[in-house]
């Protein structure tokens, strides 16, 4: 039987500088209090994973970090800026420094792959002319291994290809932090592993810090330097994959039930 080789989570270049600091985050939808005092620190160069079951508020947490959702209480600092106190223009400037990969990839379906990738560049004048725009598009398409998809529409791509193009669109602005919302959900195990490998490879190339939201322990094993288990809206346990694997906590054990 062939033994699969798995890439190790990158350990180098993690510094003590905190690029994201979340304190006492509270968010409720009606009577349902999804986050109830959640804390999080992301250090520069680190891959932090937030592990939790479906509906536990993982996605809500990263949507609050980019202020797609307004938290009810708590504080969020990203790259030294108080996210909740920023005006719209300052927030937009900060968002350019944060990449966000959506679970659904969220590609603009009326645009081709090329137009999807050009869209953020044109909005922020990051490419000086058509040639540099083309060069940047080519660079990220090569980085995600899909140079031949320029003229295709999202509806012509498979799930894994959409995720790759979503990743390319996220990285084209060269963000310092990338937030991944369930990057492998809905993909077969082989494509899921390819996506995780791609995330690690791109993280090394683009020198990003990441928060990965998932309930997939394979992602935790392959990519995370540190894992926070989110349970009932709060930090339940924190540690490395091996720490969690050895834990006797019933909530943590429940994630390993099929492993």
């Amino acid at each position: 039987m062939e033994t699969l080789t798995v890439p190790q989570a990158p350990q180098a270049a993690i510094t003590d500088e905190r690029v994201v600091e979340v304190r006492g985050l509270v968010k409720a939808f009606g009577a349902n209090r999804v986050l109830n005092g959640f804390d999080l620190d992301l250090r520069r160069g680190e891959n932090l994973m937030v592990l939790g079951k479906s509906g536990s508020g993982k996605s809500v947490c990263i949507k609050c970090i980019v202020r797609l959702l307004q938290p009810d209480a708590g504080s969020i600092r990203v790259l030294g800026q108080d996210v909740l106190a920023l005006g719209q223009e300052e927030l937009d400037r900060l968002r350019v420094r944060i990449g966000f990969l959506f679970q659904s990839s969220a590609l603009y379906d009326s645009m081709t792959v090329q137009e999807n990738l050009e869209f953020p560049l044109r909005r922020h004048w990051l490419a000086r002319d058509a040639r540099s725009t083309n060069d940047l598009v080519e660079e990220v398409l090569n980085a995600v291994g899909l140079p031949h998809t320029r003229d295709l529409y999202p509806s012509e791509l498979s799930g894994g290809m959409k995720r790759r193009i979503g990743l390319a669109r996220t990285l084209i602005l060269k963000p310092e932090i990338v937030l991944y919302d369930e990057p492998t959900t809905g993909l077969d195990p082989i494509t899921g592993k390819e996506i995780v490998e791609l995330i690690l490879q791109l993280q090394r190339s683009y020198n990003t810090s990441s928060i990965i939201i998932s309930h997939d322990l394979n992602v935790a094993k392959l990519a995370a330097n540190r894992i926070i288990v989110l349970h009932e809206g709060r930090n339940h346990v924190e540690g490395s994959y091996d720490d969690l694997r050895a834990s006797n906590d019933p909530v943590v054990r429940s994630f390993f039930i099929f492993m």
Binding site: D92, R95, F100, Q103
Partner: protein, 247 residues
């Protein structure tokens, strides 16, 4: 109902707060003008032609009964310019443009495309809503003028089914009977109709929830609400022109 009126009013307020922003999305505005204006021309043109022809054919017997058949071009032209062309064109706009805006933005909302735009540092309201509302506001009056012209031409064809009237004579009869006060209120109200179509279509799309079911609902409620609003605005316009003595 009142809550809905409040929400649409707040949405319109948000439009005005963003409508004159320094960094305007010109290329998207031109694209929307092309889609909402130019692409609506065939439907508006065909409808205007049929409207002018049918109105002429159906009005003739009544006017003949009163010995006023010679008034046919003037009567149809005044009806078309003052009321029928603006309202019918606006209703076509509500059906075609309003529903497509509701469905398009609704679909973008439920598939997180609007969120993706926002986190990439682009203001989706300015990019998607402001450009669309400006495009309908600017394009509908153009479509109404075109609809007027085609309906009047169809009236000439309708008149010539039984009579033999030259274009020159017909043209003189029509424009002798039309006054400035027939054109201006109709032209002004068509801006409001266009604005209503854009605001309602975008509001419905932007407020979409509950996945694909919500997208369908956004499309159909956009048409219903915009159509209703067009009639309400028309009623208000009639009252105002009456008060100003323009009727």
């Amino acid at each position: 109902m009142l809550e809905e009126v409040g929400d649409i009013t707040a949405f319109a307020g948000r439009f005005f707060a963003n409508a004159f922003h320094a960094r305007f999305e010109w290329s998207e505005l031109f694209r929307q003008c092309f889609l909402n204006g130019y692409r609506s021309l065939p439907l508006v043109g065909i409808t205007a032609f049929i409207m002018g022809l049918v109105l002429t054919v159906q009005s003739r017997p009544t006017l003949e009964r009163f010995g006023a058949a010679s008034m046919l071009p003037a009567m149809v032209a005044i009806s078309v310019v003052r009321e029928i062309a603006p309202v019918i064109t606006a209703l076509i706009g509500a059906g075609k443009i309003g529903s497509s805006m509701g469905a398009e933005l609704g679909s973008m909302k439920v598939t997180e495309q609007i969120d993706a735009m926002e986190v990439s540092g682009t203001n989706p309201f300015r990019y998607l809503v402001v450009t669309r509302v400006w495009s309908t506001t600017l394009m509908l009056p153009v479509l109404v003028v075109l609809s007027d012209a085609i309906a009047i031409w169809a009236t000439w064809i309708g008149v010539n089914i039984k009579d033999d009237v030259s274009w020159d004579l017909f043209y003189r009869q029509v424009f002798d009977s039309l006054e400035f006060s027939d054109f201006v209120p109709a032209f002004i109200k068509s801006y409001f109709f266009g604005f209503a179509i854009g605001i309602v279509g975008c509001y419905r799309g932007y407020a979409t929830e509950k996945g694909t079911e919500g997208v369908g609902q956004a499309a159909h409620t956009a048409v219903v609400t915009a159509s209703l609003l067009i009639f309400i605005l028309d009623l208000i316009a009639v009252q105002i022109t009456d008060i100003l003595g323009l009727n």
